[in-house]
Amino acid sequence: MLTISIMIACGMVLIALILNSWRLVVGPNTPDRIIAVDTMYINSIALILLLGMYRGSPLYFEGALLIALLGFISTSAFCKYLLRGDIVE
């Protein structure tokens, strides 16, 4: 039962990733694209967690933690660049 649930959840997250990629391509202006990337890294964390649950090994959480850290830092760097024209003043 848990395996079937993991498969269904993987399918739903995959559809969510496809919709985010559509917004990333079509988005009318730059902040829309930044939102799309921000949502895509959160969905990637969910996919890594689902892979870890499917394999039954807790080795994948370090990768999820790294993606969470670097995704937030990249989003804040994008916004800082849009606001100021420079990241480190």
């Binding site: 739903m12 202006n29 969905n43 933690l65 916004c79």
Partner: protein
Amino acid sequence: MPFWIEVIASALLLLGAFFMLLGSIGLVRLPDFFTRLHAPTKATTLGIGATLLASLLMFTYQTGEFGIKELLITMFLFITAPVAAHLLAKAALHHRVTVLGDEKTQQRIVQARKQAPPVDEPLDTKVD
């Protein structure tokens, strides 16, 4: 693995995946940037929280020790998602994205664009 852990973990997984899908549907369907900002930053965060709770249940039963890494990822995401949303809204104000709404909303947007950041005066130039 006992049956009730499987039931609770499956329900949490399906709930989390449903909320993540809902956030992405909102990101596609909503008409305006500032309404689009609402969908992923709340629904997707709830979805990833439910998924992390399910994996915490499963690995706590499997390994016999409390999973501190899942709690760490959850706390980090719940703290950083509002900060990222605020930064994005501030960047979009200065980029003059199109805002839908009536006259009052347009006036508020113009007023918010005029607000300058607070300037820190150096201490030695103050004259009492």
